[in-house]
Symmetry: C2
Subunit: 223 residues, 2 copies
DNA sequence: ACCTGAACACCGTTCAAGT
DNA sequence: ACCTGAACACCGTTCAAGT
């Protein structure tokens, strides 16, 4: 049996793309908290300092991962996907699902928004849908911001509970605090405790999108 | 000159309250990133392990700090503060300002909500105001959630730019990406670039609250 | 220009042992 | 019950030196 010329495959050259690829793989395997500069470097068979040639810092790395991921958002471009409102739902639900599936990334997206091509495409698509719905441009522009922010924040909130047990305990603690709120001090919380925590994430997301669209439609920017 | 019985003041006994107090002081001096378990312990003249008798982990500590801070929210209880809508503005703007002034805390609030008395009071107040505005209880319950989430997310986003220079660069990068978006690939972003980033944080917050209230009013929970 | 070894300056959390 | 020294298992980022 001939011995291959090189026992190990050649170490592939570092590129920004390759770094983001490996980061995505690490994240799929164990969540964003496993994607550290040091571990990423280890997976790429180099030292952490080498990564800084291609990536400015951890925040930028996270933004790059997210932008790559945003390529998977369903932009509802098919002709038979219904009216603008329904297609808006499709896009935003798809975006939300993506972030729900990748715990931790949503949180970093709130602080450092991706500025890559996929993010721009998403914004462009939402602007087009609101325009189709007759929303005046100024309030559409601010509206898109809040639509994305709301979806991102929901995912950040939820995802943390999936990712580690500790946050799940916090969640239970808040629920208990709501359920056990004294009827004298907090009469409305006491009366509406069930409403406050009702619904699946899907139901709440759907209502939130409807509500936001209604609000955007009804609120001109010049008072 | 008589030598005092003890040269140094007696080391005060550790309590949860005292720990949160000191944490708040550290945060005022240098932002949340300066409030680490180790530094906090140092400020309290003890070792980090001692804190774990009173605080389960860092997330819980942050939530406790925020709940303490929420005691300062203007609940618009004065008789002459106008109608429900205006008072809702007062409460939410006050909440937003608080988080803007304490960079970093907003971010942690999105993941671990405080479950203390001040947070419950805030929720109770918002429920009362929406009730006064004739909003049906089920959609008020979900609405309060989004009102707080939106204010918190805005603060998280903004505050990071204040806190460190790096995020400010990210912000500029996104703005440039929007401003320079190609008219062919992103026609609407190109046309609406100015709108997308226009307005002061105050103006955007005000519009967002109006928009959310309009949406909540217009969106029943049973479709 | 690209890459890296080594260092700097830190983290959160646990746990056995003390009082 | 409360407290702690010491350890465990990590971090991000920088920089001088190499190729």
């Amino acid at each position: 049996m001939p011995i291959s010329r090189r026992e190990r495959p050649a170490k592939p050259a570092l590129t920004r793309e390759g770094i983001v690829d490996t980061a995505l793989r690490l994240m799929d395997e164990g969540g964003l908290q496993r994607v550290t500069m040091r571990r990423l470097a280890l997976a790429l068979d180099t030292g952490p300092a080498s990564l800084y040639v291609y990536v400015a810092n951890t925040a930028e790395l996270h933004a790059a991962i997210l932008d790559r991921l945003l390529g998977q958002v369903d932009l509802a471009q098919a002709a038979d996907e219904g009216g603008w409102r329904e297609r808006l739902h499709t896009v935003l639900v798809s975006y939300t699902r993506l972030l729900f599936a990748h715990p931790g990334l949503a949180q970093s997206a709130l602080v450092t928004r991706p500025a890559g091509p996929h993010y721009l495409t998403l914004v462009e698509t939402l602007l087009a849908l609101l325009d189709e719905g007759g929303v005046p441009a100024p309030q559409a522009a601010w509206g898109v911001d809040i639509l994305l922010q709301s979806a991102t924040a929901s995912a950040a909130e939820h995802s943390s509970r999936v990712e580690d047990t500790r946050s799940d305990e916090e969640w239970r603690r808040l629920n208990r605090a709501l359920a056990e709120a004294s009827a004298e001090t907090y009469p409305r919380i006491h009366a509406q405790a069930a409403d406050l925590v009702s619904g699946t994430p899907e139901e709440r997301t759907r209502w939130a999108i409807d509500m936001l669209v209604n609000g955007i439609l009804a609120t001109p920017r010049t008072r």
